[in-house]
Symmetry: D2
Subunit: 333 residues, 4 copies
């Protein structure tokens, strides 16, 4: 359960309550959410009665997810990524290669997408791959390349973290942790990332319902990390004209039930280069807070997923046109 | 197989070929496609050798669907519905109640949506319903009401045809036949509708792949009806935050492989009133040729599907904003 | 709504009630269910108050489907197909080619499957095909072949009826109408078949839920045809190791909520010849009332779906082993 | 890539080849598979030419998965769990509570299922839960309870390992590691478990294709752990009469393309207590190598998933009847 301490709770009452928790030997953690003070209590069957404590209230919501719900926090969350804001009037554009392949190539792509308006560079160093025989990313060397590109361009960096062992290494360069769709319910990873305050992009799992996505976000929030950005990247259905089925209807639904920002990944969401333009426009039109797109300067040579990357010149045109769509929604890039 | 007669085929050669078909006792049907002459030959195993006939070529395509493919017809098809064009620069807006309920209500809704820019009125007289105990539509009386509303407003009419028995009755008032998703593979119905020249809106089945949708269109085309409009209206997936999952990625895919126009039904596609605005904008942004939306002046009293209908005032705002989206795609309403 | 007349209702009370229905100008139909008298009343909003009529009760169920529910009829329905019983202790084996191709071949296959214990011959004369260019069945000639094979072997015949126009023609030879998965929600067809008393095999649609399947059965039952047999034949999912995903868990679920018999089609359910043996055994083990299997004497030459047909010798082995499985469930072939 | 060393390769040739790998600075790992010597080489683009080395061959298969394929190993793999064999003529029965709740309860359930023929006890100590507010398992204390029950009953233990941090702790008591469906593509976890030799039950992900399941198995195999058992536990589809859709057709498919054993979890596969009997029978009839079933002595009080657990007396009846089914398949419990 999640408890909220009233702003004016006396230190006496707070101390009294905390000692009760110690006495009952339950696990609990104090977290803050903006200027609100919360306590996440891990109960194992033994329910806590709050009646006797003033200034302590249970966070309730008609949803299973509490902290992620709009009932808990009516106003939109705007995540601040070193000055780049995600979730406000300004939309975010994240672009870059699927995998980091070399310094030269990554730098070249970075400059091109930056010129077109991207503020954050994507690029995988640790790559989760379906087959053990596929390229697994440059790993440590990839992180070094990202650090170099970050230093030279000033772009913010998002890169995937695939296990708890490499969190610190990834954190050294990443401005945003990316949690991939296969790890959406890797709860040990979520708990550890939740203990940092670093922004995190949580991608929807291939078979995840809305509630499951938001409950995974709740793992992050309830550990004390309020900087959660959701990402729709396609679900698995019978439809075979795309690699996945991009479920844009989740955008207005998330906006209704949650305060968290949500962006769209049309590259994985369709898996087809020639649908990215159209589906990016559709994403922004549906109310998304931004896009994350794979851009490669030689897609046919890409070490992973080249078939779904667009070229920098296409990205330039895309940025121009989604800016016009943004205007219709009274937002801008 | 589909054969194409060269424009300058001599009448002697054509006669020679047709007599060969008679001789082989195969079923065949001459159809025209614009100014192109085609013959649909129904073979049962016994293949026709074309080598000896000049001026007759088989229509080939890398797709299973032939006449629906862009290889057969590179330019976009624009369907003319009594002056309202579907598939060109101008987009189409179709609106109205799920079911025709009374003359007064239908007329009221019709006038309101017409004021906001709709050119075609939707409204079901024959309703296919999951339960035999649900309201099955006003049927004959519903057709009469539509005729009256058409006469008074000048709006074009689209209404569903659910079986071969009622084709003539529906045809008397409908400017566009609607074939519902449950009937997308009702091949007897498709064949009969294909023998008319009246425009037809073919809705994608709940579990239909792209190829299946276009092969159902091919049933219509190969019977001689070139006036086919496709409609995406959501597919059935595990996702439970919407009634169906609107698969907008089919829009750019259809545009790539086919010349047929395609519109979107965000009402059935989401089944949620408060998602219609966002998904309509997304539909137009993705490149759709128009939308078909359920509008009702008292949704809570609707005899069917009221939960997914919007009110006329919401429709007015919707039309205003999708017009701006259309402009970004260099199209207009 | 469905009303039940008490067995001892006086003719006076019954007449009084029927005249009330005439007076209110509602559509209604008297049907019988075994020795129970029912009235299906089609209401359009205007509710009938039963309070004043004695001997007339509304059929209620916790399910949307009423007549198909076990609450309405606790004991299992056993459909009698000219002496072959479906739904009782004895299980049914239906086998034969996907499509009727010639008298010789059909007769040969019929004799072989009969020798192995099949009591009913399957074979399509009217074939619903995804593409208009695929073999559409021998149609009228196919019906004649089935009639001849029936006369010579004494096997009962099941064959598909694809539209209302050909019901009479199909009825002349068929002991069981087959309604294919694409037509599960072809309500006009269901209503017409429901007006006959001939047994009907209703196949589950590719994307049909349990409730939708049983509501389609309800269309048949509420028109007065109690001889409904359900059929699980695979659903459409993301899984790609089979053509469809055979959902055997629907068998115990149907047994729980409905009194109707249900059989399994492992041929369409998997679309893979080498899975039919295993999935047939699993079907009987799960509690199904029988199987319907595609058998062809030269699968590689079959005009449709040969890849999912087994040979007569395989069918013989299958019958032997599913008989052993049946015994475990205290049933037999 | 995976390389196989010929049995009679000279130590000189082997040394020559290994020094080549060192020289090229590629990551590689020597593993054994029975008495076969393999080398897993992690290439990053730079392909190794084998032409010059005798006694070294690439393992090839028509499938993406190599070591898991029947082409690599034609005979069935039988995993030995401390004397309990999985994959041979004898089938395995695994039973127990969803979560370990107390020593008394776990012991009571363990004895009851052991009496009915179960050889392995299931029970979760570390529980992956959709919501952070749900019971997360007794964790360390749960492991202690399992150790005690193991000591007292002699049952083998299977329990879930949810992250790399707790592998050693789980390994201390587990005879089989369980990798849950949410972690099927947690590649870091797979790699670490693959480095042990302990048997591992790999559950199919909710949206995993056959290839993905076997490629995850390949992660385990290619790290050197040959003791992999697969588990079908239901996939996510639109069907709503069960929690998941049990896809039994994967059983014969796995048997065809792979040598690995596969068992079925009808508890998670259906999520409905009253379907477990029927689906267990169907599982064994389809050719599965065993079942894993949730049994609880007071399902209504279970701390997790009680609705899908059966009582010990039901388990007893189940064991009796699936033994009869096993006999039909010429196997036994």
């Amino acid at each position: 359960m999640i408890l909220e301490l009233e702003k004016n709770i006396s230190s006496e009452n707070k101390a009294k309550f905390l000692s009760k928790l110690f006495e009952k030997d339950v696990h609990f953690r104090e977290i803050s959410f903006g200027d609100r003070g919360l306590i996440h209590v891990q109960e194992n069957g033994d329910l806590i009665s709050l009646g006797e404590f003033s200034g302590v209230n249970e966070v309730r919501s008609s949803q299973q997810f509490k902290l992620a719900s709009r009932e808990f926090k009516p106003e939109d969350t705007v995540v601040d990524v070193g000055g780049v804001k995600i979730g406000g009037k300004k939309l975010v554009s994240i672009a870059g290669p699927c995998a980091v392949e070399s310094l030269e190539r990554t730098l070249e792509i970075a400059k091109r997408v930056q010129d077109s308006g991207a503020e954050i560079l994507r690029g995988g160093a640790f790559k989760p791959r379906t087959s053990p025989y596929s390229f697994q990313g440059l790993q440590h060397k990839g992180i070094e390349i990202l650090a170099e590109v970050k230093a030279r361009t000033g772009l913010k960096i998002i890169t995937e973290v695939i296990d708890t062992e490499t969190i610190d290494e990834v954190a050294a360069v990443a401005d945003i942790f990316q949690i991939g769709s296969r790890n959406m319910q890797n709860f040990s990873l979520l708990k550890k990332i939740g203990k940092t305050k670093k922004p995190v992009l949580l991608k929807r799992g291939l078979a995840a319902t809305l509630d499951e996505l938001l409950l995974s976000a709740e793992y992050l929030l309830s550990e004390g990390n309020p900087n959660v950005i959701l990402c729709e990247r396609g679900i698995r259905t019978f439809a075979n004209h795309t690699r996945n089925t991009l479920d844009l209807s989740i955008i207005p639904t998330v906006k209704e039930v949650s305060h968290l920002p949500i962006i769209v990944d049309p590259s994985h969401g369709t898996g087809k280069r020639n649908q990215i333009y159209d589906m990016s426009l559709a994403s922004i039109a549906s109310g998304a807070d931004g896009i994350i797109v794979e851009v490669h300067n030689q897609p046919s040579e890409a070490l992973s997923d080249g078939f779904q990357a667009i070229e920098p010149s296409d990205f330039q045109k895309l940025m121009r046109d989604i800016s016009l769509i943004a205007n219709v929604r009274q937002r801008h890039f």
